[in-house]
């Protein structure tokens, strides 16, 4: 495990709030109606909440304080003469408020969750379509934390934060309006508080966001550690390096801990500050209000109402700062998600003028250069031609660039210079998916997904004649699968259990067969197999190669011997090229390697 500096995620992600809003808008937009509805309901609930103190004040001034018998109050033009009918009105208001509040909450949750669902699906399908380069740069553990954790975090934003902020702002404005109507002088004192509050919010939001960024970043590192520990468990346990991993993790976890402590400290200054402002204004209002009551410019009931409204004024402020905390957290997650959604542009820019493409009939490489990092060329000046129905074998030591050629053909990477031509058409002007549809790839590491064996060979969403599937399996010499516990419906678990590595590889080969490709690529596909099974696969390969293009990468020369053409790579350049017999006759490196392999 490296020191922490290497652990860092890609450079800190920072985006402007406005940009965030713009990018998220398409996800919110279809639900504007629901949002508006919820907001309206929120307003109703809030208004009802505001009416309650008014009702109380009226009751005070109308029923409780007056000594005489003439007791009546006017509410919205209605005259209510008895205290009990007033109480009925009050309970009606309370009940309606309950029902609407419930509907509102439910609607809000529903809307928020739907948006999150859409966002998650969008993010995932977007990520799946991102180029392989992206996955080479970002570890899967870290990416998972985007789709799972970060989106979850944003959930808070849509469900709780957005509407609460609406509501709280509305509530505060409403309270201010009511306060002004009661006594503008007193209300004016209160408004003096507003700029102070706004400034403190602005300052704290900056600090908080920064803290949350670090927190989210560390969390995804933690995710990565867990994922890596699980994958490499056998190595960790058999090399007794548990302590080492534990120490590294503790350090990381501690960094996360300190980052969150910092956030707490910042926030615990913010919250009491707001609370203190509340108390301060109570003191001011009491002071000035009492004078007004003495001047008879304010009734006692009004002062009482004023004080209750102020409670309502500061409660949302308290809520607001709490939701504000959530908002900052959610926004820092949103930044990370949008950063991925943004990656799209770089890839899809070249998608103009793509030609429709039916069948790969021949392929050529024309002076192709390529490197993963700019300073270290992996392929140098590669040119070759693969004519119709032919096969090409690529041999060379490990690290000589064999797999990189595959990365280019499948469009995982783009060549640095030179051209790759499919049927004489430049790869860049063909939709890469059209190419991939015609290619089957069998890789060194057999990769299977959870699901049944059948689904792994041919996903259920794609129709396939069962007979055809069976034939594909027999062609791939995979008939042993029928003897597995539940045949083709045997469930494959994580990492291909319960199949052995060799069996997994056979299933992967069967998958290639089932897809009936124009071009088949074997990337050292037989490395996990014993000679007997390998022989079976080789037979099957020959069957499949008939009438198709094929590229076989191998470290054993015998595997490529029968190819129409063989390329010998060394340090990214083609050293020798020709048929087996040509190369033997050449008595060059290929010949020397052959001699050595005999030992």
């Amino acid at each position: 495990m490296p020191d922490t500096s290497i652990y860092q995620e890609e450079k800190e992600i920072k985006l402007a709030d406005l940009y965030l809003a713009k990018t998220l808008w398409p996800f919110i937009q279809p639900y504007t109606f629901l949002f508006c509805l919820t907001t309206v309901l929120v307003f109703i609930v809030t208004s009802l909440e505001l009416i309650i103190p008014i009702l109380m004040q009226k009751a005070f001034d109308g029923f409780i304080l007056p000594v005489g018998t003439e007791k009546s109050i006017h509410i919205f033009g209605f005259e209510i003469t008895s205290f009990s009918s007033f109480c009925i009105l009050f309970s009606m208001v309370v009940l309606t408020s309950f029902v609407i509040d419930f509907i509102q909450s439910l609607l809000m949750e529903y809307t928020g969750q739907t948006i999150i669902l859409n966002l998650r699906c969008k993010l995932f399908s977007h990520m799946v379509f991102l180029p392989v380069t992206f996955y080479d740069k970002n570890s899967s553990g870290r990416l998972v934390s985007r789709v799972a954790g970060d989106i979850e975090n944003m959930n808070e934003m849509f469900t709780n934060v957005l509407i609460f902020i609406f509501r709280d702002l509305f509530l505060m404005i409403g309270v201010l309006v009511v306060l002004f109507s009661i006594n503008s002088k007193l209300a004016f004192y209160l408004t003096a508080m507003v700029p102070v509050i706004v400034i403190s919010i602005a300052v704290f939001s900056k600090i908080l966001r920064k803290a949350f960024r670090t927190i989210r970043q560390k969390l995804s590192e933690i995710n990565h550690s867990f994922s890596e520990a699980v994958t490499g468990i056998k190595i960790i346990q058999t090399t007794s390096s548990r302590k080492r991993f534990m120490e590294k993790f503790k350090l990381l976890n501690f960094e996360y801990f300190s980052a969150s402590l910092y956030q707490i400290r910042v926030f615990s200054i913010f919250m009491p500050l707001i609370g203190f402002m509340g108390v301060l204004s109570v003191a001011i209002i009491l002071w000035t209000g009492s004078f007004s009551v003495m001047n008879k410019s304010l009734t006692l009931g009004e002062l009482v109402a004023f004080l209750s409204y102020m409670k309502i004024f500061f409660r949302p402020l308290r809520d607001l700062s709490e939701t504000f905390n959530l908002l900052q957290n959610a926004l820092s997650s949103a930044e990370r998600i949008i950063n991925i959604l943004k990656t799209e542009k770089a890839v899809q820019r070249i998608s103009f003028n793509r030609e429709r493409f039916r069948k790969i009939s021949h392929i050529s490489f024309d002076k192709v250069n390529f490197s993963y990092t700019w300073d270290k060329p992996v392929l140098k000046n590669i040119s070759f031609h693969l004519p119709q129905h032919q096969s090409i074998g690529i041999v060379g030591r490990t690290g000589s660039g064999k797999s990189s050629i595959i990365n280019l053909i499948t469009g995982f990477y783009q060549p640095g210079s030179g051209k790759i031509l499919f049927n004489d058409i430049n790869q860049e002007s063909i939709n890469i998916e059209d190419i991939r549809k015609k290619i089957a790839l069998v890789m060194q590491d057999p990769i299977l997904f959870s699901g049944t064996i059948r689904e792994n060979i041919k996903p259920s969403e794609l129709d396939m004649d069962p007979l055809k599937l069976e034939k594909a399996l027999f062609d791939a010499n995979c008939d042993f699968l029928f003897d597995k516990s539940s045949g083709l419906d045997t469930l494959i678990e994580e990492e291909g259990r319960p199949l052995s590595s060799g069996e997994k590889q056979l299933v992967c080969i069967a998958r290639a067969f089932a897809f009936d490709p124009d071009l088949i690529i074997f990337d050292e596909a037989t490395s996990y197999m014993d000679s007997n099974s390998e022989q079976k696969v080789h037979d099957a390969m020959k069957k499949l190669m008939k009438g198709r293009l094929s590229i076989i990468i191998a470290h054993r020369l015998s595997t490529v011997r029968d190819c129409d053409n063989i390329i010998l790579l060394r340090d990214g350049s083609i050293m020798e090229k020709g048929s087996h017999h040509d190369l033997v006759a050449l008595k060059g490196e290929y010949y020397r390697l052959l001699e050595k392999e005999k030992i």
């Binding site: 419930f102 995710n223 022989q535």
Partner: protein, 554 residues
């Protein structure tokens, strides 16, 4: 925190006095001034104290989170591979983040809410009772209903939360595995299929979440309803009392103010119920993981030995993964120090399983394995593994430097390092790397070829000298030329070690003292290379094919 709550309760008292003064018509600016100053002072004290307890409580919640996560990670490192056959990585990752988070929330906010509710609530209630017991009693009528509904809802929430978290785990796992196999997905154009799969999983999570949301949405309005009902009762009955002059208007105002203070604890109950139920459900899931004991454990009183020499005996060993079909049956074999054995056989014949039994990555189902005449299960696990160099079949590199990947925290001299690099034919490879040994590899580093990965994994295995060396298919991805160089070097490296090599390549096995051919979990044939060529059809065929290739090549 208690002081905060206390001061919070004093403020309405002051207001009460001020209002009573006003309603009596007497007005004393001086007294009012002092009252205001008093309020301000209390406000300052409250702010300071709030800062303190927030820091303390939330800090300790984070501390708790930190501790749980450390323990979880430690536990995960301790669990044996058998456990990972049952549980999914995505699950564990969900535990480590989402679940721990919920627990923290429960203990941070939840704890605040509890303390606040209990202290503030009971203190307020006491003062209310003291002011006017009857009025208080009436105001409390809705309370039992409140408690009841919160409890029922809470239970529901607990269940909903648990199912939602489970669904979340599943989703996480789908996502993880898709990213892991992204190349295959791309080449086969599985993108839409996989997206669809994740979509379905998300929808499932969505539906379960919605249930949770329903309970959630009901809770808060319900609490407010009960609260408002109390307000109504106070207003009605209190107003009646004021008219009867049994309480002053100021007292009624103060009473309503107190009820206002009570509103926060009441709403907090809602929060708390939600957070607590979520936290508890998550804690349950974490505990389930923490409580799952490793199948393979060190004995309480291990046999104390100075060192192991590498004398391994398998006696009638059978093995199955979990309750599945037996993978190995009645295996008996012996390895002595300085001796090497080879293991071959068709895929699925149990070669890898056999190798994994020696460092006790799994326990045998029946039969015993002895190391220097001690049953493996009587030896301390770390002690045992410290004497075995084990190379798993699939080379896995951690995202780290090449050096770290080889050393994994162990320290060896430069000389040893250079030697092993030479033995593993890595010298040239490393020299070509941009930063040599310090080059980053793994998920986020330089892309290495399969053979390069394998050789680094081999170097990791051989870097420290161990009496037992187990190599599971060490040369499968290396070209033939390098492979023969590797095998020769490995054989020379430690002449005293007991070596077990699994390979498909006869050339790698030919020099072994004894070779075992596995078939369907049993030893089909054993003997030296020369013997097996005569006795084992599998071996003969493999050898013939491999020889044929060589002849063809010539």
């Amino acid at each position: 925190m208690i002081i905060v709550d206390a001061t919070q309760l004093i403020v309405p008292q002051i207001i009460k006095h001020a209002i009573d003064f006003l309603s009596k018509g007497s007005f004393n600016p001086e007294a009012l001034f002092f009252q205001c100053i008093y309020i301000l002072f209390l406000g300052l004290v409250m702010a300071g104290l709030r800062y303190g307890w927030r820091n303390l409580l939330m800090g300790s919640a984070r501390d708790l989170e930190n501790g749980i996560r450390d323990e979880l990670f430690n536990h995960i490192l301790n669990l044996d591979p058998a456990y990972y056959n049952r549980i999914k990585t995505g699950d564990i990752m969900a535990h480590a983040t989402s679940d721990i988070n919920h627990v923290r929330m429960a203990f941070g906010f939840g704890l605040i809410a509890i303390v606040d509710t209990l202290l503030l609530g009971s203190a307020t209630l006491a003062i209310m009772l003291w002011t006017h017991p009857m009025l208080t009693a009436f105001a409390m009528i809705p309370m039992p209903f409140l408690v009841m509904t919160t409890r029922t809802l809470g239970k529901k929430m607990h269940v909903f939360h648990q199912t939602a978290q489970e669904s979340f785990s599943k989703l996480t796992e789908f996502v993880r595995e898709s990213f892991f196999g992204i190349r295959i997905i791309k080449v086969y154009n599985f993108e839409s299929v996989i997206s669809h799969k994740v979509e379905k999983a998300s929808e499932d999570y969505f539906n379960k979440n919605l249930k949770r949301a329903f309970a959630n949405a009901l809770l808060k309005p319900l609490l407010i309803l009960f609260f408002n009902l109390s307000t109504l009762i106070i207003l009605f009955y209190g107003g009646f009392l004021v008219i009867k002059k049994s309480i002053t208007p100021g007292e009624l105002v103060a009473f309503l103010q107190y009820l206002g203070i009570l509103a926060w604890p009441v709403i907090a109950i809602g929060w708390m119920t939600n957070l607590f139920q979520r936290g508890m459900a998550s804690l349950k899931r974490i505990n389930a993981l923490l409580d799952s004991p490793p199948d393979v454990v060190s004995p309480e009183h291990p046999v104390i030995l100075g060192a192991l020499s590498g004398n391994i005996i398998f006696k009638d060993v059978s093995f199955a993964y979990g309750k599945g079909d037996p993978v190995l049956s009645d295996i008996s074999l012996a390895v002595k120090p300085g001796m090497s054995i080879g293991i071959a056989g068709p895929p699925g014949s149990g070669k890898t399983s056999l190798a994994q039994l020696i460092p006790r990555l799994y326990n045998t189902t029946s039969g015993r394995i002895f190391m220097d005449d001690h049953d493996l299960s009587t030896l301390d696990l770390n002690f045992l593994r410290n004497h075995i160099a084990f190379m798993p079949q699939e080379s896995f590199l951690f995202s780290s430097t090449i050096r770290e990947n080889i050393l994994l925290g162990r320290s060896v001299g430069d000389e040893r390092m250079d030697r092993i690099i030479e033995v593993c034919c890595l010298k040239e490879t490393i020299e070509k790397m941009p930063d040599g040994l310090e080059t980053l590899v793994g998920e986020r580093g330089v892309t290495l070829s399969g053979g390069q990965k394998q050789r680094i994994a081999l170097a990791r295995t051989l870097i420290t000298e161990k009496p037992v060396i187990i190599l599971d298919d060490p040369i499968s991805q290396v070209d033939t030329h390098t492979a023969s160089k590797l095998m020769a070097a490995i054989n020379r490296l430690n002449l005293k070690a007991a070596v077990i090599i699994i390979s498909h390549r006869i050339s790698a096995l030919a020099s072994c003292n004894r070779i075992y051919i596995l078939k369907n979990g049993s030893i089909n044939h054993s003997g030296t290379h020369e013997e097996l060529v005569k006795t084992s059809r599998f071996y003969r065929e493999s050898f013939r094919i491999q020889q044929l290739e060589e002849e063809k090549n010539a």
